[in-house]
């Protein structure tokens, strides 16, 4: 206990330093990992976003090219109708037509038109005249939809003056068919139509982008085709509309949506959109993994640092502990030396309250010089060592034991009696036990020389509040005990009378 108590201040310093090192190391490591992790996350975020924008933009351009290609193919098939001379020269509205000849001409044109469109999923591929007479393939659906106004309605769909043709969808809010109309001559237009659902093959996107919504809208942002079939015919509104409004070719990404738009034929637009949280799902996963990796790395680094610190400081602490012990301990008796005892008692007294009671017991071996001279220094040393043992055996680990002179020992009693015993009586018993200890071990076995000790006792706070005051009081009491014939103990009573308390 004495060793442990004595080494505490130095080791405390080392432990404090060690803790500061570990905390400092941990803070630095965590800070570095936090910075590196954040940089990694930000970089990954940026790279991933750019890649996703690039891929989506490419997909949108591909969809636009698909659409342009499809439209171009349809227009080419439409133009093929002009390969038959009758198709662009015959006028069903000419009042001079011979009815029978006209019938046969119309049959011939019809056969020609059928042969041109035979392999495609067209609803209509025919010519409509100003008098609403038709040749070729004109579906019941179109006939019912446009009725007697077919020619006028179809003519109004021609928007391009260069090629005298145009595209239209959503006629009378019917979005099932998409129409292509081209003027044949002053009294006839060629009409082609196909189901909007045919565009599924145009806008078929890869399985990895199943969540991508693909739409074709006209210049009014009416939806002509959508991978979400149910919204065909509605007007594009809300978040997607806000992002693509007035844009002809752009890709927009924010926290809610990734939207890409490209214009194609006749001011129609191909719009691809996907919620950001879906397209960047992988980014969130990567972020999670990076942060987790950073956290694990930080924990491992701190753990590693702590282990290393402990392993590195252990020999130092051991050396300090040994040195500490040697500096504070009397090597012969194993108890505190004078300086250490003085420090400890002074420290204890400084923190003691006046309601506490302590005793300072001063023990001096009687005739020790005679023991050395008679029995030899080695024997004298053994007597001193034995005194240390006697003191350790008699007092608790809470009490301070010290060798403060050649044959002079001192005990500062910290502990109190366990029961209602009077404190003076408690100390008295200790003193008597000490005296008896010398009788038992030294007087009995070595008859040739009597070994005893004299004891002086003073009390805190009655006889002083500092070590010096108490020591002085105990020394006076010891003097009384010596004076009374040695092998006795005496309590300091405040005066210099030579009466002793026990022998």
């Amino acid at each position: 206990m004495a060793k442990r108590e004595q080494s505490r201040p130095s080791l405390k310093n080392i432990r404090g330093l060690q803790l500061a090192m570990i905390i400092g190391y941990a803070v630095i490591i965590i800070l570095v990992i936090f910075i590196v992790t954040n940089l990694a996350v930000k970089k990954t975020d940026k790279v991933l976003k750019n890649k996703v924008i690039s891929i989506t933009s490419s997909l949108n351009v591909q969809m636009k090219l698909n659409m342009d290609s499809y439209i171009s193919r349809m227009e080419t098939i439409g133009t093929l109708a002009f390969g038959s001379e009758d198709a662009y020269t015959y006028d069903a509205t000419d009042p001079n037509n011979d009815e029978y000849e006209a019938l046969n001409t119309e049959k011939a044109i019809t056969e020609k038109l059928y042969s041109l469109c035979i392999m495609d999923n067209f609803c209509d591929y025919g010519i409509v005249y100003r008098n609403n007479r038709t040749v070729g393939k004109i579906s019941n659906g179109t006939s019912s939809l446009m009725g007697d106004d077919m020619y006028e309605e179809l003519s109004s769909m021609i928007t391009r003056q260069r090629t005298h043709d145009g595209w239209s969808a959503g006629y009378k809010d019917d979005h099932k068919r998409i129409y292509y109309v081209k003027r044949v001559h002053d009294n006839a237009v060629l009409v082609m139509s196909f189901y909007a659902s045919e565009l599924e093959s145009v806008f078929d996107n890869p399985e990895t982008l199943d969540d991508m919504d693909i739409r074709l809208v006209d210049s009014n942002y009416d939806i002509l085709y959508s991978s979400r079939g149910e919204e065909i015919g509605n007007q594009l509104t809300g978040t997607i509309y806000e992002r693509v409004k007035d844009k002809t070719s752009a890709t927009v990404m924010d926290n809610t949506y990734l939207v890409s738009v490209n214009s194609c034929v006749d001011d129609w637009y191909v719009i691809c959109s996907i919620p950001t949280r879906i397209i960047l799902k992988e980014k969130n996963d990567i972020q999670y993994y990076i942060y987790m990796a950073g956290l694990i790395a930080a924990v491992l680094a701190v753990l590693f640092g702590t282990i290393m610190s402990v392993r590195l400081t252990r020999p130092v602490k051991q050396a300090v502990s040994i040195l500490d012990s040697k500096a504070n301990t009397d090597q012969l008796t194993g108890i505190l030396n004078k300086l250490a005892f003085n420090d400890r008692v002074s420290g204890r007294l400084d923190s003691s309250l006046t309601i506490e009671r302590h005793a300072l017991i001063l023990l001096d071996l009687d005739n020790f010089k005679g023991i050395n001279d008679t029995l030899g220094h080695a024997y004298g040393d053994s007597v001193l060592a034995k005194t240390g043992s006697i003191l350790r055996a008699e007092f608790s680990t809470e009490d301070f034991l010290g060798r403060i002179g050649g044959d002079e020992f001192c005990v500062f009693v910290n502990c109190s009696p366990s029961d209602d015993m009077d404190y003076d009586e408690f100390i008295r018993e200790k003193c008597e036990t000490l005296c008896r200890a010398y009788w038992k071990y030294y007087s009995g076995d070595r008859k040739d020389y009597k070994i005893s000790a004299s004891i002086g006792v003073s009390f805190f706070p009655d006889h002083g509040s500092t070590f010096e005051e108490l020591y002085s009081a105990s020394d006076k009491a010891l003097y009384k005990a010596k004076k009374s014939g040695k092998d006795a103990y005496a309590f300091y009573d405040g005066n210099d009378s030579e009466e002793v308390d026990g022998q």
């Binding site: 035979i118 392999m119 999923n121 609803c123 579906s139 659906g141 093959s201 392993r311």
Partner: protein, 422 residues
């Protein structure tokens, strides 16, 4: 310290391994593999719409199968099918006409033998007799969807408004034309095939001779063809019907035409709008000289059939689709009676449970089922060349380019060059 060294070495080795693993690892991303099959059909908008929906459902039920669709209205579809068939580019699963079985599979080898995939198709929904329609040379080539016949549909509302009863006889029609024509209304109209079969019915009843003999050869002579031509020309001239070429110009839906000869499966195509507009349209008895003779000279056939291409490389997937189209509940409910009352027992039960066995097409099917005089239609009766030839010679008479006798003789000779005659 040795232990510590070992820990550091192990950690370093682990990091190096991970690093090596990350930098040089080959990444393999599997693409979704789908079996792609194709489906072809003809029909108007409603059929196309519900079939596309059904295909979507089928794909959801079978995510490993993708179905590409080829479809259009009937006009020109027959020629398109011929090109596809002879060029080996036909769809894996096809809606076909019963006549095409004779055209492309007289020996039973022109379509896939469905008995090879009978584990995928629930054939127990079909009687042996109905399967015979799709069997050639004892090989099951196709399965019929519903039965069909040309039917006389009458807009009862328009007829009654003019004080007319539902016509039962040929004379009734001519009498109706006398009255309705004053308001620019035709009592009947029809596309070329319907009017051709209508004329055959008249000629068979009038002459007592069947168009085909027992061996399936054409038994009509120029005399019977003359009866057909005269009948057609008279109907046009007395405004019972518009010219075949003008059929599309008359409007069934607004009452310009107060009746039509059309397939059971086409009833709603023609009269859907009229019914929605509040008109009562009924399926009349098959026109005859007397009501008792109704059905004589009229023919029935499977509306359409489903077959699988003989060239398919995915017979099992195709069979799954074929079974879905015939027997699946969702398909049955989507299809309803659009093609007539389905032959599949399961499909019938589904429709019955949902109360969908109703409407004009259902009424037409009831009229068909209850008439015992209807005979099985030979594919020859639907031959496009025959019909076109008839139209051409009839126009010669209509436009005074020939007499009906000359036109009939010309027709007889033209047919004699192309077909086997008695």
């Amino acid at each position: 310290m040795k232990a510590l060294g070992r820990v550091i070495a192990s950690a370093a080795a682990a990091v190096m391994l991970i690093q090596c693993g990350c930098s040089g690892k080959r990444i393999v991303h599997s693409q979704k593999e789908q079996t792609v099959i194709s489906l072809s059909w003809w029909g108007n908008d409603p059929r196309t719409e519900y079939t596309l929906k059904a295909v979507q459902i089928f794909q959801e039920l079978n995510p490993d199968i993708k179905v590409n669709c080829n479809y259009s209205e009937w006009s020109g579809y027959e020629a398109r099918n011929r090109i596809r068939m002879v060029s080996d580019t036909e769809a894996d699963v096809m809606q076909i006409n019963v006549g095409w079985l004779d055209d492309f599979s007289e020996d039973g080898k022109g379509y896939y033998d469905l008995s090879k995939v009978s584990d995928k198709i629930d054939l127990s929904n079909f009687s042996e007799n109905t399967l015979k329609y799709g069997t050639r040379n004892n090989i099951l080539n196709a399965i019929p969807i519903a039965m069909n016949t040309e039917t006389v549909y009458i807009n009862k509302t328009v007829y009654e408004a003019h004080g007319l009863d539902i016509p039962q006889t040929w004379d009734d029609l001519f009498r109706a034309a006398d009255i309705l024509s004053k308001d620019g209304i035709y009592p009947l109209c029809g596309p070329s095939k319907a009017i051709w079969l209508f004329s055959i019915a008249y000629a068979e009843q009038k002459t007592g001779k069947s168009f085909l003999d027992d061996k399936g050869k054409i038994a009509f002579s120029s005399d019977e063809f003359q009866v057909m031509i005269d009948f057609y020309v008279e109907m046009v001239e007395r405004r019972v019907i518009p010219k075949i070429e003008d059929f599309k110009k008359v409007k069934v839906e607004n009452g310009t035409c107060a009746g039509a000869v059309a397939w059971v499966s086409d009833a709603i195509n023609y009269f859907g709008s009229s019914i929605k507009a509040g008109n009562e349209v009924v399926a009349a008895n098959y026109t005859a000289f007397t009501p008792e003779d109704s059905g004589a000279g009229w023919y029935e056939k499977p509306a359409t059939l489903y077959a699988i291409s003989k060239n398919t490389t995915h017979p099992e997937e195709s069979a799954l689709l074929l079974d879905f189209l015939l027997n699946n509940k969702e398909m049955a409910l989507l299809q309803g009676v659009e093609k007539g009352i389905p032959i599949s027992k399961s499909a019938q039960e589904y429709l019955d449970e949902e109360g969908l066995l109703s409407g004009l097409q259902y009424e037409a099917s009831v009229v068909m089922d209850s008439n015992t005089k209807l005979r099985e239609m030979s594919p020859l009766l639907e031959d496009t060349d025959l019909i076109n030839d008839f139209n051409d010679v009839a126009n010669l008479v209509l436009f005074d380019k020939a007499t009906s006798e000359e036109a009939a003789q010309q027709l007889f000779e033209m047919i004699g060059e192309e077909f086997e005659m008695t």
